[in-house]
Subunit: 646 residues, 2 copies
């Protein structure tokens, strides 16, 4: 930790935004309401079923005996994320049956907790003497982090402290063990997660120790001598996942990068390694930047943001192109069919972007958040809500399909907790500022010192770009209402109380910021033009060479075989082809259509190879929103389509 | 075998060609002589080193003890292919040191042979009670086949019978065990190879039992009840490779296809499964078609040939696009970067094509043979002869490179035995017919009843298309001299004894057939125009969509990053760009050059995604022969390049 000897630790946080709380927001619109109902009525019950029949709940009874299959070292995180998602649902809609199931799960966790606060089935019953000896591989702190997030979410959603008390006892134990003189002094986790969870725990409890523990874990990371080397030497075994990574001993640097422990976090400037770990860590770094008003953390986050979003981001908001490490590849290395783009990584990018937007009060972070959310995250679930993609490729030869569950089931409950807490992403609050980040039908309540202001959105977004926002204070109120203008929009029109307002005149860091004395019943009308548009990638992206994608508003589109007579790889979008739209039942939005071309065989018996150039014939192209692909019969798909005339 | 109850078994073979024998041919030219010298002086010694240090030779001493690492079940095949390659070298050039090493290896094999003729280390020392109980997985007959080929090759090259006697004893044992009343009656091998080897053994010894055993093994294959099911039920264990194929019990049909045992061989009409097994089996089927003059075998071969070469063949002559089974994918499913195209499979295609050409006296089989040989086979070895590709992709992102050896080392010695027996592919003999299949400098001796005719080729092929063939009988001789005219050649000129002859007038099934009374010193001059040319794939080949390849003569070309300032994925070959050639030191042949284009970033800070179309700037393209790629620094490569104007 020598290199971080004099951190800036101003006690007073600087001006920053906070995300709205679930209870302050209601969501009711044609796009999100049915999807959130699907999560509540399909996804969460299906996941409860898997946790019950898969052994996760049962393992918490600590009844494992030698010879039986071992409980999985991630299982607490599955249970925790399910509780977290269910808690968010309970916050937005009472459900006594679900509440009782959550209470039952919490009771199991309580029962599994050891007298000293420790809570982890594997290291209680299978390897009882080995807790905290394999921080790199054994996911104890990762599970603890998810438990803490669940405890906070459950408390905030229901007001009950049952799980919060459990996780506080565990956090207190971790604080002792990782503090001065503790058994893990100088240690940190192999799979980051607890860092951001501890910040949430601090915010929920006001207990500053948790915030400081989070910062301590971050600052120990990547310092020399490397903790993971020290613990391996002490332990004298190669680690829980050694057989998964036979090259680990040779590729030392690569596997330090894998969990972002290759150098101190404040010195990192390229997004590397396992992308979910990266996202959770960068999110915590943004939290620390805000809580400590620490410019060094803000600067590191900004460098990593640029690396992630300017050189390593899929068009869909997916990240992590290298399947062999579930993580980042090199700059511009974004293969489509053989990439990865794990659902959890896109979700992690949403977490990080939310924090970056609040830290900098800047809309372009929300542009990325929305890109990830509506494309690379939503694609992770079937429309029916019970089948999942672990990885989200941008092209398929027709063999790819969603699955009902996974042995490592991190993505399904992660999706559920994000969709069911959408309220907190839609709005932020600042100092006398009400912020609209996402266009979502429904309302948000902002309690100010002397008044309460309710913002109500009425919109069919993302099917169309019209958004009517009613600003309704209970009495005339001085306030800035800030509404995001997405960077993709080239023609945004704004009318306030019937009077057109030039967007440019009030645009500040991606938001129109309307500061005035708002009267009850005031109205903001926003019209975001969203014609279908063509998008090209940087020429260094090999998978997109001489190809073009279609987008409309925040949505990325794709061609799916089932909509075409010709194979999708034969389809060409000419430069001069007009782009139209038509209703699309599958997504409930619109499809983009164009008069395109298809390369075709000249005759049935055409040779496999010959010297006659390809010819083309007319073919109608029909592109659907990327998130909705693979909900019909299995056929090939591509986001990047041939760019005619390129 | 019910469905094959009445095979046509005419004893007299019909008119057909036979391949030349090594001793009848000498090779001396600028292309092949250095490569064959490299095999002799680099590849074979390096492989001997690996067999010595890797344990293959040592294992033959049968000294294995429980607790030691087990000898690999393929090891006899590695030793056998090395002996075979070395024998071919000895046939064309005496080398006492190599001859002594071969004798030493043969002595080891002799020592490992059991009194009853059995020869397999694994089932002698590791699992002595289990021989011939796991035919599907355990590769005993595969190893036996390679031993038999080695025995025949060694005998034909050196006249010594030492190894031939060993393998005859083994073949006799197999004949008993797989014959009526034997322990394996109705059985056949999981990895075909012995079928073609037994035909070679029959031809070398005149012992018809071996030929009949070969046919019996083929005809048992794929009949119901399936032998591999029966043996597994008897054995009550899931098989040696069960853990490699956890899906085998579910994907029953796929894993029957894997080793082509899904239906009787005469009913097969699509090339499926592991492609090396397929090639060795189809080769044997062509042998049986010829030996028994059996039209049913010829017809099955022809159906499989069309499936292989018209729908499943890489431009390079590689086959087997699916890495998960080292085998065939569906029709037109030929991915470039993520394909497979194992070196051994292309070698197997050469074996099969040779037999098909001899069976049908038709040149288009040799066109495929030459395509595979000069592209997908030669690419399997570095120019230095000591580093190998196992799979030969048609594109690379720059991370692919040849390796010095493999745990499963089938490809390196397979390459060595093919290159060192090139003589037998270059010429065939028919009934009063001398056939030139390949343009290779050197000479071939045809012993006729009353005279001897020597054909001498003088050529710089494949650098250029001029071939001068001297036909030199020791006395005036009536003879047909047939010279192949490759299908890729659009302008072939022929001059015989100074007189121009119209190619069309004498062209028959891909050969100019010149029947006359040849006088000593007669001369055939052939000039095959080989301008660089563009080649397109069938539109259903997704990896080649809107792409074009360059070829010249029999060679496929590729773009390698090291020759270009722009990444190869940015390069575009315009339709109207002229194609030139320039000398190429790396291959000793010529490079193809063109004034092309490259998509480039508009500025250093260009966004990852935006709405401005790609632009292009001039870029010089330099394509090199595919076989010579990956001999310089590691950079990306592609065969299929962007087709400008497509």
């Amino acid at each position: 930790m020598a290199s971080l000897a004099s951190p800036s630790t101003r006690a007073q946080p600087r001006s920053r935004w906070e995300s709205a709380r679930i209870q302050e927001v209601t969501i009711e619109d044609s796009f999100w309401s049915p999807r959130r109902a699907t999560v509540r009525t399909q996804t969460i019950p299906q996941q409860e079923h898997h946790l019950r029949t898969g052994g996760q709940f049962e393992a918490l009874r600590l009844g494992w005996q030698p010879g039986q299959p071992e409980p999985h070292i991630f299982w607490e995180s599955d249970v925790a994320k399910w509780i977290e998602a269910a808690s968010y649902c309970l916050a937005s809609e009472p459900d006594p049956v679900l509440a009782a199931e959550v209470d039952k799960a919490i009771a199991l966790l309580e029962g599994a907790q050891q007298p000293d606060g420790y809570l982890n089935v594997y290291f209680t019953v299978v390897k009882p003497g080995e807790r905290f000896t394999d921080l790199r591989d054994a996911h104890e702190l990762y599970c603890a982090g998810h438990l803490i997030e669940a405890g906070v979410a459950h408390f905030e959603a229901t007001g009950k402290t049952s799980l919060l008390e459990v996780v506080r006892r565990f956090a207190d134990l971790i604080d002792r063990e990782f503090g001065p003189g503790g058994s893990c002094e100088g240690g940190y986790d192999g799979h980051q997660e607890i860092e951001l969870a501890l910040v949430r725990l601090y915010r929920a409890t006001g207990e500053r120790r948790y915030l400081e523990l989070s910062r301590r874990l971050l600052e120990a990371r990547g310092t020399q001598p490397f903790y993971f080397d020290l613990e391996q030497r002490r332990r004298r075994t190669p680690g829980y996942f050694a057989s998964h990574f036979p090259q680990r001993d040779e590729q030392v640097q690569r596997f330090r990068e894998y969990n972002q422990s290759h150098r101190p976090v404040l010195e990192q400037d390229e997004a590397v390694g396992h992308s979910v770990r990266a996202m959770y860590m960068y999110s915590a770094m943004a939290d620390i930047a805000a809580e400590y008003d620490d410019e060094r953390y803000a600067a590191a986050c900004e460098r990593l943001w640029e690396s992630t979003t300017q050189r390593k981001l899929y068009l869909t908001g997916g990240i992590g192109a290298d399947p062999t490490i579930e993580g980042f590849a090199g700059d511009y290395d974004l293969p489509d069919e053989h990439g990865y783009a794990e659902t959890c990584a896109a979700i992690g990018l949403v977490f990080w972007a939310q924090r970056m937007a609040n830290l900098h009060q800047t809309g372009h972070y929300i542009d990325i958040l929305e890109r990830a959310l509506l494309n690379g995250v939503l694609s992770g679930s079937s429309i029916g809500g019970t089948r999942y993609f672990y990885d989200n490729p941008l092209a398929s030869n027709g063999t790819v399909h969603r699955r009902e569950w996974f042995g490592v089931a991190c993505c399904p409950p992660n999706l559920a907790r994000l969709i069911s807490s959408l309220e907190t992403y839609a709005y932020s609050r600042g100092d006398r500022e009400a912020v609209v980040n996402l266009y979502v039908g429904g309302s948000a309540r902002f309690d100010l010192e002397t008044s309460t202001v309710t913002l109500t959105q009425d919109t069919e977004y993302p099917r169309e770009g019209k958004v009517r926002i009613t600003v309704d204070p209970d009495q005339a109120t001085d306030l800035t209402v800030s509404v995001r203008i997405p960077a993709w929009c080239r023609d945004a029109r704004l009318v306030v109380d019937g009077t057109p307002v030039s967007v440019e005149s009030v645009l500040d860091r991606g938001y129109v910021r309307l500061t005035r004395t708002w009267q009850p019943g005031a109205e903001i009308e926003l019209d975001l033009a969203m014609p279908p548009r063509r998008t090209w990638a940087h020429p260094l992206v090999a998978a997109a060479a001489r190809r073009v994608a279609l987008e409309r508003g925040p949505l990325v589109y794709c061609l799916e075989g089932v909509d075409h007579l010709d194979p999708v790889h034969c389809l060409v979008l000419p430069r001069d082809a007009g782009l139209d739209t038509e209703p699309d039942d599958l997504s409930g939005l619109v499809a983009i259509t164009a008069e395109g071309l298809a390369t075709t065989a000249r005759q049935e018996t055409q040779m496999l190879y010959d010297d006659i150039p390809h010819q083309t014939s007319p073919a109608r192209l029909r592109a659907i929103p990327y998130f909705s692909w693979a909900n019909r019969e299995r056929t090939p798909m591509t986001v990047w389509m041939h760019d005619g005339g390129a």
